[in-house]
């Protein structure tokens, strides 16, 4: 939309007026055949409604619009105009082509950004500086942030629901795969592979643990203790297909020959100090998983691994 004609010094030639907005042409474009010129904003708006020249109704599309000839641009750039901020006291008279650069730095621009000097650190349009109240502005800022925070929290809760839903679906899928495996041998190999990989992934997600006092081992844990360990395993993401087997292996009656009695344990101390142990999160217990301990002798290991519960001494 063009410049207000009253801002210009002297008469402006009719040829420099946009027939749509009746202002002085701003960023003009012309129609290809009839060469009628219009402000870019005006002709774009018009063509979006009707693909014709607004003066003579010849067909024109947006892509056919052309820049105006240099002579017209030069005539426009030589026009002398007052500043946009003349109502705010700017007395500058400028050539049209230098208006844009002047506006950027015009001191009379009521919207010029100014830093607040009272200390809140906000940058405020000049004309709002007098009304500016640091506390109010900052409170408003906090309120908007609080609003965003609430939105994010809500989104988080929704995402949690979605994730739980996915987990449930994944469990069903695994169930389905187990059923498939039972009915199809090649599926079984594939599923075994996937399950092994799942165990490895879980094992890698657990922290290494160090047993400082092997003597603190509880080789015959009671049911309550076993339940606690089992829950902890489950929460750490233990693949469900091994959790029961693992828990079975927390009692010395299921341990491998090299560990099965106090006496053999004392004899084999040198061997089980080589175990790669993983921490059962939050518990005085370690996991000795088969996949982590391929280096130890077979009479010291069982599938899928051992659970060793201690009274103390786990780091």
């Amino acid at each position: 939309m063009g410049f207000e004609i009253k801002r210009f010094q002297g008469d402006v030639d009719e040829e420099l007026i946009c027939p749509i907005c009746s202002g002085v042409l701003e960023d003009p474009l012309q129609a290809p055949a009839c060469e009628h010129a219009f402000c870019r904003a005006c002709i774009t708006e018009w063509i979006s409604r009707q693909p014709t020249c607004p003066v003579d109704r010849q067909a024109v599309t947006a892509s056919q619009l052309r820049p105006v000839p240099r002579i017209l641009r030069n005539l426009l750039s030589r026009l002398c105009t007052s500043c946009d901020n003349a109502p705010h006291g700017c007395n500058a008279v400028l050539k049209l082509d230098s208006l844009a650069s002047h506006l950027v730095e015009c001191e009379y621009n009521p919207k010029r950004p100014m830093p607040c000097e009272a200390g809140c650190g906000l940058v405020i349009p000049k004309d709002e500086l007098a009304e500016h109240n640091c506390v109010r502005e900052l409170r408003a800022l906090i309120a908007t942030h609080q609003g965003k925070l609430n939105d994010y929290e809500q989104e988080l809760a929704e995402q949690r629901l979605v994730i739980n839903e996915h987990k449930r679906e994944l469990a069903l899928l695994k169930e389905f795969m187990r059923a498939m495996r039972l009915s199809n041998p090649s599926m079984r190999a594939l599923a075994d592979q996937m399950e092994r990989e799942e165990v490895v992934r879980w094992a890698n997600s657990l922290a290494r643990a160090r047993v400082t006092r092997w003597g603190g081992m509880i080789s015959t844990p009671d049911d309550v203790l076993q339940m606690m360990i089992k829950r902890s395993l489950s929460e750490s993401g233990c693949p469900p297909h091994i959790i029961d087997d693992l828990m079975e292996n927390c009692h010395e009656r299921r341990w491998p020959p090299g560990l099965s009695s106090l006496e053999t344990r004392q004899n084999n101390r040198r061997l089980y100090e080589k175990y790669v142990c993983k921490r059962v999160p939050g518990k005085q217990a370690v996991l000795v998983l088969h996949c982590d301990n391929t280096h130890v002798d077979e009479h010291m290991m069982v599938e899928p691994g051992l659970v060793m519960i201690f009274a103390h001494g786990i780091e």
Binding site: M1, E4, I5, P19, I20, C21, S22, G23, H36, C42, E45, W46, R49, T52, C53, P54, V55, D56, R57
Partner: protein
Amino acid sequence: MANIAAKRIKREFKEVMKSEEVAGGTIKLELVNDSWTELQGEIAGPPDTPYEGGTFLLEIKVPETYPFNPPKIRFMTKIWHPNVSSVTGAICLDILKDQWAAALTLRTVLLSIQALLSAAEPNDPQDAVVAKQYREDIQLFNLTARHWTNAYAGGPTVIWEFNQKVQVLQDMGVDEDQARVALSTFDWGLERATEHLFS
């Protein structure tokens, strides 16, 4: 009102005021309110037409989206013309509809409406009854239009026969405008007009 519309209307208003048509008294334009959204136009009936000597008032409403959309214009003075509704004053003129162009102004539009009075388009009618009369009995149409110009637009030509017939119906208690519409519609046949009004 959108800035661009107000700016255009102000400029066009000045353009009309400075024009030779205003100087010659054939068109006029007045503001109705301060917001430049409503104006009142006035056109003189063109010479050598049944509208000669009459003055026709036009209601002009400027939409927010002017000049991207045309102004809404209708006759406030009743007129007998194929392209103007004899009931509402609505005008059938292409430039006020799909042939509107943003470079048209109030002045050019008023002149176009004036030109429409000189050159009716009976094949693209707004008022089918008037258009039928225009096509079938141009002389009667001219008389009727002249009579309406006299009755509503201050035209000089009095057609006594028509006035008397209107008066007859008025004496029966019929509203004057209704009487004139009925008589005009039935080619000034008093009997059929009466029958129509009282059926």
